[in-house]
């Protein structure tokens, strides 16, 4: 079991949507714009970097550009070299190393507001055909709306639940929380990351069992599960 059989992992719809978006923007002759979040490595940034790698490979296949605005938080300083490396090797893996241009991954600012302003500026100037917004906070809505104004398809990552609600309305497709993680793990094909997703799911099954048994016991005036969880 250590090596060999990977646990099952559902291919999420987001990947098809991303593939479509890349294809459509290439048809329109426009670049793709994708961001992967602002903070230092957390589970979302790691997953978004896998998605970025996938998008870069798809784009390299059809000779398209990927523009990656970076910044927004001092943590982005840690993530930037990794991101540049990922996009570069994606282009090289498709044999299109010469298409990679580091100027397409501009470092806008550490300051959140000027990062947001720079991001919007990029959207207006480059007029991408697809904008894939990473785990951003309140600014995500702004990018999605401006992207829509230039006629781009929008795919956004819902980072916290109120954000998901707003993006579910505004964006063409929203990856709801863990969907982004599942997409990232699916693309990375790393056993350990799929296993961690599996671990999370085991906790969820555990929650289901606890709730079902607990509710039945509560109905029978038995507080065993509640007491168990109160330790």
């Amino acid at each position: 079991m250590r090596r060999g059989k990977l646990p099952y992992l559902r291919r999420v719809l987001a990947l098809d949507v991303i593939e479509d978006a890349v294809g459509r923007s290439t048809e329109m002759g426009r670049p793709i714009l994708e961001s992967y979040g602002t903070v230092a490595f957390d589970q979302f940034v790691i997953a978004s970097l896998s998605t970025l790698s996938y998008v870069a490979r798809l784009a390299a296949k059809v000779d398209n550009r990927v523009i990656v605005p970076i910044g927004g938080n001092p943590g982005s300083m840690i993530t930037r070299p990794v991101a540049v490396d990922i996009v570069k090797s994606a282009y090289e893996a498709e044999g299109k190393g010469e298409l990679f241009n580091e100027n397409d991954m501009p470092f806008l600012s550490y300051e959140f507001f000027s990062f947001a302003a720079g991001y919007v500026g990029l959207i207006l100037r480059e007029r991408p055909g697809a904008v894939i917004v990473g785990p951003e906070t309140a600014d995500a809505l702004m990018y999605v709306e401006e992207a829509n104004a230039v006629g781009a398809l929008t795919i956004a990552t819902g980072y916290y639940i109120a954000n998901v609600a707003v993006l579910a309305c505004a964006a063409n497709y929203v990856m709801i929380g863990e969907e982004a993680l599942a997409a990232g793990a699916y693309l990375s094909k790393e056993q350990s990351r799929i296993t961690s997703l599996r671990t999370v799911d085991i906790f969820k099954f555990l929650a289901i069992v606890l709730v079902v048994v607990g509710v039945i016991l509560v109905q029978l005036k038995n507080n065993f599960i509640i007491d168990l969880l109160s330790i």
Partner: protein
Amino acid sequence: MKNMVEKEGFNLFKAMAYIDRKYLFLMVFIITIGSLLFPISIPIQIGKNTNLYYSYLSKLKSTDIVMWKGATFRSYMEVKSGYIATLRVIIEKGAKLVAMYDEGDQQSVFQMVMGNPSTGASGILTSLMEQKNYKYWDNYIDLGMVLLGGEATYVSLARNFQGYIHNDYAGRPIQGSFLENVNGAADFAMIIDSGPLAGIGGDFLGRHFAMDYKVVYLGNMIGVGIAPTQTYIETGIVKGMLESGRGGAELEYLIGAPGPGLAALNVMTLGHYYFIALIIIGNIGYFGWERKARREEEIRAGGQKK
């Protein structure tokens, strides 16, 4: 798609489906400023969470120490009715107050309401404070920006207050004040947190104060924080909350002290109705025209349907 729109003549449904956003935005300004200039007062129903919040707040005694986590100016703009009304209750009860901040403008906001003890500038509640003889140092202390440094700071504060806090914001040592006997989280009667997002890392107070030491934790929440806080109320970490500007208006109504919240009620009404109207217009446009147009476009594109 846009080209196709231009080719046809005027179509009411089409106009309803695509309204230029500049006009939408202009209307927002007109509605807001217009109704602020001509306010009308209407009664308001008190929600469950506001009642819970007030039930804890009204039990404060003059010996209780309340920890006040400040709001940034942008959060304050959203929850100022609750911010002011809560401080009003605390002053009236004579409870002790300790203000702490984690962002740069939170102190200015606090002083906007409570006055500036260094310069003597007055704030919104100065007259009430004079009336109740509520004074800096005797009744409330401003510790300044002591909440920087993330989760580690909150843990230090909760477990070893005296080892962490030595003086107030202006450098005056806390010896001899009511903070002298505070050793950790357990010595606080209540925490009031204004405008944060419980659940996205902002829940340090909940986890290290309320959960570990059972301090009563109340939230004066911004809109984005309402639902996460609701789950924390259910689990007993948070005891009550004010739901954004509306919750603040309810508290103002409950304590009989009209303020910015009640003055904004007609903007809230018109703003919501305006948005609902836009959604309905958009859907009429969608079913009257946009859906057909999309279908035609799909058929033209080769009948592919996702």
